[in-house]
Point group: C2
Chain length 321, copies 2
Amino acid sequence: MALSEFDLIDRYFRSSGAARADVRLGVGDDAALLECPAGMTLVAAVDTLVDGVHFPHGCRPESVGHRALAVNLSDLAAMGARPAWALLALTLPSAEVPWLEGFSAAFSALALRHGVALVGGDTTQGPLAVSVTLLGWLPAGGALRRSGAAPGDALFVSGTPGDAAAGLALEQGRLAAEAAREFLRERFLFPEPRVALGERLRGYASACIDVSDGLLADALKLARASGCGVELEAARLPLSAPLRALGAARARDFALTGGDDYELCFTVPVERLAQLQAELPSELWGYTRIGTVCVETGAHVRDERGVKTVAAPGYDHFTAP
Amino acid sequence: MALSEFDLIDRYFRSSGAARADVRLGVGDDAALLECPAGMTLVAAVDTLVDGVHFPHGCRPESVGHRALAVNLSDLAAMGARPAWALLALTLPSAEVPWLEGFSAAFSALALRHGVALVGGDTTQGPLAVSVTLLGWLPAGGALRRSGAAPGDALFVSGTPGDAAAGLALEQGRLAAEAAREFLRERFLFPEPRVALGERLRGYASACIDVSDGLLADALKLARASGCGVELEAARLPLSAPLRALGAARARDFALTGGDDYELCFTVPVERLAQLQAELPSELWGYTRIGTVCVETGAHVRDERGVKTVAAPGYDHFTAP
């Protein structure tokens, strides 16, 4: 199957995602031309997924296409931004039609749901990797940063962390759990970035980060950027029923140190808590208080046996064994 | 050598390129925050370089760092845009200090020369590949597109095309030419994107494209986007002395079909030619008229033996043998 680079782009990527009136020139020239809203701050993030590193070799193309955009949507959600435009750098060993159809359909479907237009990209031959740059907007001064938390603030997480890591373990045969298999695998393969929640948290959250490397690791990054610590209560961790079915210790371990959740971890000053609950009821928006920001640096996990402190947990691409 | 992802970013990429007042938040959070100039159009491009595809395996890290940004600067130059901000997605087999030092120093030096700030990125483990997203600005309506050429317009190219392709052939041992070896190799390893020329061509050029896949291939893309053809006169091709030293036929072949030049190919309406020469003297700005836009589609090369027409020449990642 000889599909030229031009045909490939034309067939799968020329009109992907939402049609936006602010795109003056999209895919097909040397660069995209985009009209910016007045008085807003541009938000930009890039994330790469590498075959065999960020997804298992042979992973379904629909999941690769979905996740490549989802991880970037999650970055913008963590800033409280509204996504607008994506650029896609796709490196492929060869141009396989079924793979491209699955990848591009899932990418486009997620882009459409979030109002994102694919405006440019580059397709190259090489080992499978996908790098997406996502651009979006924020009212000036409205960003949720990692660095705004203060001791006393309440600590929250959205969704049910740990599901995706358990799903990956199932996918890779490191874990056996027939009953909950499909639910947990879907949570790894098709994460739902919390874009709407991130936008609505502007004005409430003092700090925010997306959970990609594991809840404990990312909460610690937020704490470090804010110059303080976080105390998590293990009993408050929102665990899904399928995760709990794996056993209490294992479920807690996945929730604290598993990665690929793409949930939001955020802090809210106590004086804002009542209004947060009134405006964004936690039971509707799916977030849970899991602890408190504290003075003592580090991430401190309190359970029935006491407090355990971790200083630098989580996955690191270049020092992981 | 265990260098964590955090240390790696902190040491090599936290303050890379120019310091710009419009960067509200750069490397280190979930996304960058950028202030946009009023009344301007945002320009965005992404390009990926893959080890063994876009540069020879074992290529000097200084060249990889330089070219990763240069190819994107060239895309923005082709639109007539002024570059501002870059995002870097770097995939590395391992974090080797000498490689990172060479790569980051060359990337930063080129960014600094063009006033570009590195504002975000992602470092991942995997087969060596570099994907850069470059953002810049244009006055609204000022873009140089591929599609504006009309029959009768003069056709130009900047610099001396073919040098880089000959340099790559030397680098790979496919060509022997001791005398000119260093000049031609440098032209492949460290191309100089024509950013200043691209900006100055606004108001003169009816269409513009950067020459990355070979002059003939890219001139043909411009012609197709404009719904016409191009006629090139082989005798007018600006060949460097080191390229000419390889022999007339070989030099012409490199100039017409070699890639990696990162020069600009552009068209100018004849009524603008006198003012172009007055404002941007060709001998100072380094561009040469090589032909004319014509009605008949295709790229037609005229030499002493007649006219040869090509319909779809050049390098294609997915159909090249």
